[in-house]
């Protein structure tokens, strides 16, 4: 670090100062009677993180939120790919329904979609003679994957459309079929531009997993509202702060990294 400090350095110093003030406040608060509150939070931290009092086995809590976000993202990627490529299809029979579905999913609130999946999906369904059961966790995965997939399809569409049309023309003149053009020419380039959007969506999805508390799975918010109901009102504030911090600590690095990638990818217009 060189003196005089640059603008960015000064800004970073202020941010550090704010963190220091918050830590100092926590310290002062702990010294003036808040310590027992924090002790209660620490005693319950394994419960919040893994859903079981001793920390093992993992039964829920924040770990379940992470698991839910990963499972939903996997499904959403599949949905998004199918939906995104369908909205790019040249035939209107495929494109228009795909656009309608995408707009419908994008325009409805996540919470309502989650509730809808909760009630619309049956407990068990027979598909081709195989009975598939839908426990609340699976319903939550589907409910969260639908809007994420619709948003992802937009990311995919944008990335594919951002590839210069010259690439299409060149590939077509070389005799490639549409499938081959996608596989060998467009997708390898578009994939690179999709990654920041995909990561941003993952951070958004992780944040949205807090909604899954309405399905009754033992996620971190459900545990907070049920298992900790006997805690005093004032302690609950400390619990809320802890959970807010957990989400922040998980999502912030992802969002920052996505933004950095976005900046790196931006401008490589071939």
């Amino acid at each position: 670090m060189s003196f005089p400090l640059s603008y960015e350095d000064k800004k970073r110093a202020v941010l550090l100062l704010i963190v220091a003030v918050v830590l100092a406040w926590v310290g002062i608060d702990a010294a003036s009677g808040g310590a027992e509150h924090w002790q209660r939070v620490f005693a319950r931290l394994p419960l919040l993180l893994t859903g079981s009092g001793s920390g093992w086995p993992v039964e829920g809590g924040f770990a379940l939120n992470i698991l839910l976000s990963i499972a939903s993202m996997a499904l959403a990627t599949l949905i998004g790919l199918i939906l995104g490529l369908s909205t790019l299809a040249r035939s209107a029979i495929i494109r228009l329904p795909a656009l309608a579905v995408m707009n419908f999913l994008r325009n409805s609130p996540w919470l309502v979609l989650l509730f809808a999946m909760l009630y619309i999906l049956p407990f068990e369904m027979r598909i081709f003679g195989v009975s598939v059961s839908f426990p609340p966790f699976v319903k939550a995965v589907i409910g969260l994957a639908l809007p994420t997939g619709a948003n992802l399809s937009e990311v995919i569409r944008g990335a594919v459309q951002s590839i210069h049309s010259g690439q299409w023309e060149a590939a077509r003149s070389l005799g490639y079929t549409t499938g081959q053009i996608y596989r060998y020419v467009i997708m390898p380039q578009a994939l690179r531009r999709m990654i920041p959007g995909w990561m941003n969506l993952y951070a958004l999805l992780m944040i949205a997993t807090a909604l899954a508390t309405v399905t009754g799975i033992q996620d971190v918010l459900t545990i907070l509202s049920t298992s900790l109901a006997m805690e005093s009102e004032r302690v609950i504030v400390y619990f809320y702060l802890t959970i807010l911090f957990l989400f922040f600590a998980y999502c912030y690095p992802i969002a920052v990294f996505a933004r950095r990638l976005e900046r790196a990818v931006k401008g490589d217009n071939l």
């Binding site: 941010l15 419908f104 325009n107 609130p109 309502v112 997993t209 009102e233 809320y240 969002a255």
Partner: protein, 238 residues
């Protein structure tokens, strides 16, 4: 059709509930959207001043609100402001009631959440303004204010409009989460109705339909506004 039964919709009580719910949702959305835009403008303006501590504070605000769940923010606001927060004694009953209702807490937390998104959008809008335009204006002899009002602001507004549409629809959709802290909006009444009638599937389909229609109206209006304001070279004017 499909065995769906919407006969309960004929009940005036349920109609009244749905109507109240829609009105409350619209109120909440309108209130928090306007507050969010205001916060966004102030924040983005603050960022252009290039004061390092203000910059750091705004950045922290944006990152915290963007990277934590709005539902949790709302619960936290409700809990600290309403349950533990300021209380007033109701003179008629002598009970102490929270000064801020669930509705107030929801609008406050939604405003802050939307405001954080708006700051980010407006900032990137201002940043994406081509430097050559400012230089051209300066070379034409525009003063600082004239340049801002006649050149920068009109262009920035147009650049920001698509992002603003996103914020408004996002905020509108997030209002449904206020039902969790017992704000009597659309989602809340929907829950009441299907608890009453057990027509869950029908209610959900109707609810999704209402939300999609309302959000589509916002998107449509914003698209019209964009088209109306378009000028060659920017946004829709391409």
């Amino acid at each position: 059709m499909f065995g769906l039964d919407y006969s309960w919709l004929a009940d005036p009580a349920y109609q009244q509930w749905l109507l109240t719910g829609v009105i409350n949702t619209l109120k909440l959305a309108a209130l928090s959207s306007s507050a969010a835009i205001l916060i966004g403008l102030l924040g983005a303006l603050g960022l252009t001043l290039r004061i390092f501590w203000l910059d750091a504070l705004i950045e922290l605000f944006v990152e915290v609100f963007r990277n934590t769940p709005p539902l949790l923010q709302m619960l936290f606001a409700y809990f600290t402001l309403s349950t533990l927060g300021l209380k007033v004694t109701d003179p008629s009953t002598g009970l102490s009631v929270p000064l801020l209702s669930a509705f107030a807490c929801a609008s406050i937390s939604l405003s802050l959440f939307g405001g954080a998104l708006a700051i980010e959008t407006f900032r990137s809008g201002i940043e994406s303004m081509p430097r050559s335009i400012i230089e051209a204006a300066r070379s034409l002899g525009y003063g600082r204010w004239a340049r801002f009002w006649r050149i920068e602001a009109p262009i920035a507004t147009r650049i920001c409009l698509p992002g603003l549409t996103n914020i408004l629809t996002n905020l509108f959709k997030t209002t449904s989460q206020a039902s969790v802290i017992t704000v009597p909006e659309l989602m809340y009444y929907a829950g009441q109705i299907y608890n009453d009638t057990f027509r869950t599937l029908e209610m959900m389909i109707l609810l999704l339909f209402i939300y999609v229609v309302l959000v589509s109206i916002i998107t449509f209006a914003m698209a019209r506004l964009e088209a109306f304001m378009a000028f060659p070279g920017y946004g829709k004017g391409h």
